[in-house]
């Protein structure tokens, strides 16, 4: 390992003295994610909430029994049968949201077998979002009215005033976090590592600066360790930038729902840190080995892409299935173990043994990859391939 420190310092200096690298790797990812997600959040809320105004409708022959249903929900205005065409035109050009025509003798009593059910006609304009949401609202109101007529049973009747959803804020947060965070964190760690490792290893090979390093007495293991440590720090910072972007835009994404990271204890965060550190080291070591094999940065990026897809596929496993698996053996599978460990921490179902196995496994794999990288640095076929 002799000589790892100068290599480590040089790698960090190479990064932190380069304004373009700092902007491109540390500032832009977080900023872009924040802006894009906030914009998406605002857009979604605009789509769902829109302007806060009650839908407006022309109604024809509305029975008195139905009127209370619409009170305070839909602003109604009666029209006579002869003005029907004018009312339809008003819906068409967006002046009113709906035009509702009730049949004669409308009631929610079951009609005699031989007669067809009375038909309520609701004219709407599907290209107007206010009109189509008003259509959905009125249809559900009338369906409800239809059922009240039969009234076999109600489910969670809003009239009861009882909160039936027993999930607490803690449960809601942990559900959202344990689904989102493993994937986001794994993807950010990977993209952070990918933004620096190929450049530092395949790039140096390509530019001929690696050979200069190899004629000095610094040990190959020292070069491998120095680079992996430095690149891991940069990858963590880059991942952190994206992560902060996500966390800051989360309130807007969730549309003001109460989601707070404060429900997790220091112990949870500590466990998370351990998992993240071991994952970053493993990811950087993996990309470094691939980069050392490649002849150029371009080639390295091409080789790393399939790995990135595998990483994403493993990351989404936490969105399916029933929480983190209990079997300790599964925590020996690299990357998958990280996904499930992060999932377990965020869903309050972490088992200390499983997390420890995942972390130790990652450290062991990293050690093996460092050994492999050292062997590769010694191989003239790999380092001086043309």
């Amino acid at each position: 390992m002799k000589g790892w420190l100068p290599v480590f310092k040089k790698e960090l200096l190479r990064f932190f003295k380069d304004k373009r690298m700092i902007i491109g790797t540390l500032i832009l990812p977080g900023l872009l994610i924040y802006l894009v997600y906030s914009f998406m959040g605002d857009g979604m809320q605009g789509l769902i909430g829109g302007e806060e105004r009650a839908p407006t409708a022309y109604v024809q022959d509305m029975p008195d029994a139905v009127a209370p249903l619409f009170d305070g929900v839909v602003e109604t205005e009666s029209v006579a049968a002869e003005d029907a065409e004018a009312a339809k035109a008003a819906v068409k050009n967006g002046e009113k949201d709906l035009f509702i025509v009730f049949p004669e003798n409308f009631s929610n009593e079951k009609p005699a077998e031989s007669l067809p059910a009375p038909n309520v006609e609701i004219y709407y304009n599907a290209t107007e979002s206010n009109s189509s949401s008003a259509y959905t609202l009125v249809s559900s109101l009338l369906s409800e009215y239809e059922f009240i007529g039969e009234n076999k049973y109600d489910i969670n009747s809003p009239l009861s005033g009882v909160e039936y959803n027993l999930a607490t804020e803690r449960d809601m947060t942990s559900m959202i976090f344990s689904m989102l965070m493993p994937m986001l964190m794994m993807v950010f760690i990977f993209s952070g590592a990918m933004s620096v490792a190929p450049e530092s290893i395949a790039g140096e090979k390509e530019r001929g600066t690696f050979a200069t390093l190899l004629v000095t007495p610094v040990s190959r293991a020292g070069v491998a360790v120095g680079k992996i440590f430095a690149l891991s720090i940069i990858a963590v910072l880059s991942g952190l930038s994206s992560f902060i972007g996500i966390i800051l835009s989360l309130p807007k994404m969730m549309g003001g729902a109460d989601v707070s990271a404060g429900i997790y204890s220091a112990g949870d965060y500590f466990a998370l840190l351990g998992v993240v550190v071991s994952t970053v080291l493993l990811t950087v070591a993996l990309i470094s080995v691939v980069s050392a094999f490649a002849k150029s940065v371009k080639e390295a990026t091409a080789y790393v892409t399939p790995l990135m897809i595998v990483n994403v596929l493993l990351s989404v496993t936490c969105m399916f299935g029933d929480g983190a698996p209990a079997s300790v053996w599964l925590y020996l599978i690299p990357l998958y173990n990280s996904v499930q460990s992060i999932n377990a921490v965020f869903s309050f179902s972490a088992v200390a043994l499983n997390l420890a196995v995942a972390m130790i496994a990652n450290f062991v794999y990293t050690g093996l990859l460092v050994w492999l990288l050292t062997r590769m640095f010694k191989s003239e076929k790999i380092m001086f391939r043309r």
Partner: protein
């Protein structure tokens, strides 16, 4: 004279890809780059490896600098084997070739410190050596300029200085004056002669005859990976100029190849 470098029967072959076989117009899957190459070099002399492009000069120097390993044979630098003790060899040699580049993002000053640290040189020694070498090559004015912004000649000077941060006993320069203007080239040759006078063993590879005649004490002529001649400059060239003698040897080698083919 103290023997510093002992090259014993170096052999190196490279496998050729289908494309390379087409370019070289051969059916052979291997190219013999070095074929039983042996020579010695001593402290306080400049030894020149002379040969046409593709003769094996650079391959030989890359083996001596431990970047690649020979298939057979060995070479000893100050008694250390390039095959078995590459770490020891790296401490003893300063290697310069156009293939080795410096990270252009950094300044000569930082690069000097970085490579000194890699060689484990104490700060006080490093600073004194830096001051001396930077002044000698006129780098001092550009010490804080990014290498990317330096001229070709200045870059080459910085490369030379970085190659010898550790004051090595053996200096191996591959085509040291290639691409340099006459003034910079002279700085380099003067420096090599000065190193020789300080008792260093200097190995240069080149195809520039005037350079050989100017600075080399002894020469080895490599053609097709074989050493055709090895000895003191005057012994090798006889009464001819080195250039004429070289062409004579080259024609001989072609005839020999024609007969055996």
């Amino acid at each position: 004279m103290q023997e510093v470098l002992n090259v014993q029967g170096l052999k190196k072959t490279f496998t050729l890809s289908a494309k390379q076989r087409k370019i070289e117009r051969t059916d052979s899957r291997v190219k013999v780059a070095l074929d039983d190459l042996s020579f010695k070099a001593y402290a306080g002399e400049v030894y020149g490896l002379l040969g046409p492009n593709g003769a094996g000069k650079t391959t030989c120097l890359r083996i001596l600098s431990t970047l690649i390993r020979p298939d057979e044979g060995d070479a000893f630098v100050g008694g250390a084997s390039v095959v078995k003790e590459p770490d020891k060899v790296r401490r003893e040699i300063g290697f310069l070739t156009s293939e080795l580049k410096l990270e252009e993002f950094f300044t000569p000053n930082y690069m000097f410190d970085y490579f000194s640290e890699l060689h484990g040189i104490e700060e006080s020694v490093r600073d004194a050596r830096k001051k001396d070498l930077f002044a000698k090559f006129g780098i001092d004015r550009f010490a804080e300029v990014k290498i990317a912004d330096l001229s070709t000649g200045m870059k080459q000077k910085v490369s030379i200085v970085i190659a010898i941060v550790h004051d090595p006993a053996v200096i191996i320069f591959d085509e040291p004056t290639n691409g340099l203007d006459v003034i910079t080239a002279k700085t380099v040759t003067d420096f090599l002669l000065e190193q020789k006078s300080l008792g260093k063993c200097v190995i240069v590879s080149t195809h520039i005859f005037s350079l050989v005649e100017k600075i080399c004490d002894r020469v080895g002529v490599i053609i097709d990976g074989k050493l055709y001649a090895d000895g003191a400059l005057d012994e090798v060239r006889g009464a001819m100029s080195m250039e004429d003698r070289f062409f004579e040897m080259y024609s001989e080698s072609r005839r020999a190849k024609g007969e055996t083919a």
